[in-house]
């Protein structure tokens, strides 16, 4: 794998321009982009490079700037099940980075390309140096994780219903959240209980 460190092989201006191509960084201010450039590491990848090993621990995530990565489940020696394709603008590896655990799948480059590596420490540093960017990045991770959760839930339902789309879940009419439970005292009382 060829690795390029900021300020060395890639000139800062080039680095900033490549970062700007990533949708999450397209709208941010120049000083915020500079803060991002300080905490990410550009990695030029070649097709076939393994970027994350399944089962390995790690605290980094990758933003794809160019090219395509693939996630695969390693089911045995030399045996893989393709899970997903990760294309420009998408992020991968954020699960193990934010909530430490062994990597759930292998991530490798499906084509030559460029990715930016961000560690969880880098993300936390952005909370101070570019809080709006940290918020945007975390919000995009939340949206991505939620979409994947929905997709897995639907797949589970299909499997449970013999491969067919399940009937809609029982839905109560109208806005229909359960009736509100009683609030535990007023805020003033809570305040005194928490801090008082």
């Amino acid at each position: 794998m060829t690795q390029t460190r900021p300020g060395t092989a890639a000139a800062p201006a080039q680095l900033m321009a490549r970062l700007r191509e990533i949708p999450q960084f397209r709208e941010i201010r120049e000083d915020e982009l500079a803060a991002v450039a300080r905490v990410v590491r550009p990695i030029a990848v070649r097709s076939g490079d393994v970027l994350f090993q399944q089962g390995a621990r790690g605290d980094t995530m990758l933003f794809v700037a160019e090219g395509r990565l693939k996630t695969q489940l390693v089911t045995g020696p030399g045996q893989f099940t393709d899970l997903a394709s990760v294309t420009a603008g998408q992020v991968v590896g954020e699960m193990a980075a934010l909530d430490p655990a062994p990597r759930a799948a292998q991530v490798s480059a499906a084509s030559d390309g460029l990715v930016f590596e961000l560690s969880v420490h880098g993300l936390r540093e952005l909370r101070t140096t570019a809080p709006a960017v940290a918020a945007t990045l975390t919000a995009s991770i939340i949206a991505d994780v939620t979409a994947r959760l929905r997709s897995i839930d639907q797949r589970i339902e299909q499997e449970l219903h013999g491969g067919k789309a399940p009937a809609p879940a029982p839905t109560a009419p109208a806005t229909a959240e359960p009736e509100k439970q009683k609030e535990v005292g007023s805020f003033g009382r809570l305040w005194s209980r928490f801090f008082g």
Binding site: E94, M95, L98, D99, A101, A104, R127, P131, A132, A134, A135, T138, A139, I141, I142, A143, V145, T146, A147, R148, L149, R150, I152, D153, R155, I156, E159, L160, H161, P168, A169, P170, T171, A172, T175, A176, E177, P178, K180, Q181, K182, E183, V184, G185, F187, L190, W191, R193, F194, F195
Partner: protein, 189 residues
């Protein structure tokens, strides 16, 4: 009435006292008796919950009735998915014990997701981690389900195998229904 000390919750240990005060001011604590619903499958989501005291069950309607998929304990966030993507609740959340939960309404939740104050940033990470843990549980469920199905498929004769068995049985004037416990043994070729 129980006393809640938010500082005791592991998931809130990084919050400062002033952040906890702010959180308490926007997320009122609500009390749920055992078996009361915090939210129901299929409904539109209006709130999510930070469990302060007690445990809740995540229940889902499956073939054969409602089943418990997971139990979440104090300190965890639940019900955020329907607020993030505005889809109906994917499961019901029911108090497994007497429970106190801080309720974050949609407005509060969305404001916290958009803001970039230290409190909002901590909260966002917490929501991301809650989703990640739920995703891991779902992945595990799917994996177990697929393995069960694979085992079941391996144990069950395929249609062409059944036809071969059926033809062989007819030579002895028998029918498949006469031998309900057929074990298929594949001979090496």
């Amino acid at each position: 009435m129980q006393t809640i000390d938010l500082r005791q919750l592991a998931s809130l240990r990084d919050y400062t006292n002033s952040e906890l005060r702010l959180l308490a001011s926007v997320a009122p604590a609500r009390e749920y008796k055992r078996d009361a619903s915090l939210c129901r499958e299929g409904q539109a989501g209006q709130s999510c919950f930070l469990l302060a005291i007690g445990e809740v069950s995540i229940r889902k309607t499956l073939p054969g009735g409602e089943k418990t998929l997971a139990t979440l304990k104090s300190g965890q966030v639940v019900g955020q998915m329907a607020l993030v993507d505005r889809s109906p609740r994917s499961a019901s959340v029911v108090a497994a014990t007497d429970t106190i939960a801080l309720e974050l309404t949609r407005d509060v939740f969305e404001n916290l997701l958009k803001a970039s104050s230290p409190l909002a940033l901590r909260f966002q990470e917490q929501i991301a981690i809650a989703g990640i843990r739920q995703l891991r549980m779902a992945n595990q469920r799917l994996k177990s389900l697929l393995l069960e199905q694979k085992d079941a498929a391996a144990a069950k004769p395929k249609p062409e195998e059944l036809q071969t068995i059926s033809a062989a049985l007819q030579e002895w004037d028998l029918h498949l229904d006469d031998v309900p416990d057929v074990e298929v043994v594949k001979l090496p070729r």
